[in-house]
């Protein structure tokens, strides 16, 4: 199994703040890698740095064999990375259809793929011609997912998809992610909800203070309460 994404000694500064302090991370092809950590550990900054939305001030980011840390964001996206940001960032003034038309860069949307998305997220079909700004939070997240899935991507970066959503919606998102995984997608997923991470993740990287302080199999971390407590401050009683 080859590594699709590799971060080596990546540093990121935002203004005068030094956020990432030499991140080392690998994301193997066809697997789902969870990026966990406390608030402010640098998870979102890591995803944004991969996307080129923050510029890496040092280090190397490779997508396959290609170095991407110096590329502009549109070129990184065109290299095959789909991004679902923490804020969802749907275009409120555009309809659901128009949001997906823009996401389908290569041309017309594939109807079979669209039907597959509708299967997981029926509200998107129902509100196809409604402005995205009128959707609920969960439906906006569905649209944000759909934008990333409307075309095949080499790698999906997904930032805290379950944040603030109702359990029923989270269930739909998890079902969708499992299916995407089953189809062989490579995913790097930031998640605060340990239960969700445990259900979806194959591998895990735990961040603290701008560094990856632990890497390994998700199952190992899930099985080791002491390690969870040490890395994440979790108590199994409350989080499992």
């Amino acid at each position: 199994m080859s590594d699709l994404l590799t971060l080596s000694a990546v540093e990121t500064h935002i203004g005068r703040y030094h956020i990432l302090h030499g991140v080392e991370l690998t994301v193997p092809e066809g697997r789902t890698t969870m990026l966990l950590g406390r608030n402010g550990a640098g998870k979102t900054t890591t995803l944004r740095t991969i996307m080129g939305l923050w510029r890496a001030s040092a280090g190397e980011i490779r997508l396959g064999e290609k170095r991407i840390e110096a590329l502009a964001t549109p070129d990184i996206a065109r290299a095959g990375i789909g991004y679902v940001p923490e804020t969802m960032a749907v275009f409120s003034d555009l309809t659901v259809r128009e949001n997906l038309v823009l996401a389908a860069r290569e041309g017309a949307m594939d109807q079979a793929r669209l039907d597959w998305i509708f299967g997981f997220f029926p509200p998107l079909k129902k509100f196809w011609l409604s402005r995205a700004g009128t959707l609920s939070g969960g439906q906006k997240q569905m649209l944000s997912f759909a934008r990333a899935f409307i075309e095949e991507r080499k790698l999906l970066l997904i930032d805290e998809p379950t944040k603030g959503l109702a359990p029923a919606i989270i269930g739909a998102l998890i079902d969708c992610l499992k299916e995407v995984k089953r189809r062989g997608a490579t995913i790097l997923l930031v998640e605060q909800n340990f239960r969700v991470a445990q259900e979806i993740g194959d591998l895990v990287g735990v961040m603290d203070n701008g560094r990856v302080v632990h890497s390994g199999a998700m199952a190992e971390l899930a099985a080791d309460a002491m390690l969870q407590h040490r890395l994440l401050g979790l108590s199994l009683d409350t989080h499992q």
Partner: protein, 340 residues
Amino acid sequence: MSAQDSATDASAALPKARRDFLPLLLPVALGLAALPFIPSSSTWVTLTIAGLAMGMMIFIMASGLTLIFGLMDVLNFGHGAFIAIGAYLATLVLLPLGGWMQADSIWLNLAAVVPAVIVAMAGTAVLGLAFERVVIAPVYGQHLKQILITMGGMIVAEQILYALFGPQQIPLPLPTSLRGSFQIGEAAIEKYRVVCVVAGLVVFLSMLAILNRTRIGLLIRAGVENTEMVEALGYRITRLFVGVFMAGSALAGLGGVMWGLYREQVNAAMGGELLVLVFIVVIIGGLGSVTGCFIGALLVALATNYAGFLVPKLALVTDIALMVAVLLWRPRGLYPVTSR
């Protein structure tokens, strides 16, 4: 019940997209409100058509600025320079063609006016490209510097026009076929004002069609909301910025030509004078909104015309009062697109 079913059920309560028609009624309401105070209906018709024509010209000048403002977050005080430069470029084409302009043939008139408009729009578009690359690009995201440098650009452009053409007004007569008026009842409606209304509507409808029916339009609308996400979807927003800036400058140039012909003269200060109106229109309409800009332009022009007739001393403050009233009602303008 599955998670998907729950999601569907939850969405059943989703409100349908609400169309906000209220601002569209404002120009009509303003016109009707002015009617009882104006002594004759023919005067009201003349004032209203004059207001609509003026509104369309201001809309053409302001529509580019609202997109630049909304999409690029750029406060371009240099926009007025493109208005004046457009008018001067057209004058340079039209002066040697004075014979065609004064001929009775509409075809000879068009043979003079159409190239003048093309030269004005193409020239201001090219200057817009240079202005964006040289002046604006280094100060993206820095509002104070944008204000200073674009205002400086405006002053420099104005002084260059003074140096090249002198401080005097340069006559720009209307072509013969656009002179005179139509008589409808007792109301006299100038032909050129009708042309302005038609031209404004064509520009407005074309912009709506482009923004709503093309991928470029979708990208502009999406970019006004969230430039970062447009880039994350793989689109080079910089190219879009340049294209919109060029189109906005070309529209300013077109507006300058129309305004010059309306006043039948051009001068170097005209851009600066119109810029205040243009900014008021953009703010009233809501940053980034073409429809808001259209309604705002009509409101400002109608209010100016009615007030100029009824209370001439108040005409100068009418636009500011209108802007204050709209912002008290809708603090982000009539149809805000961007939250900036």
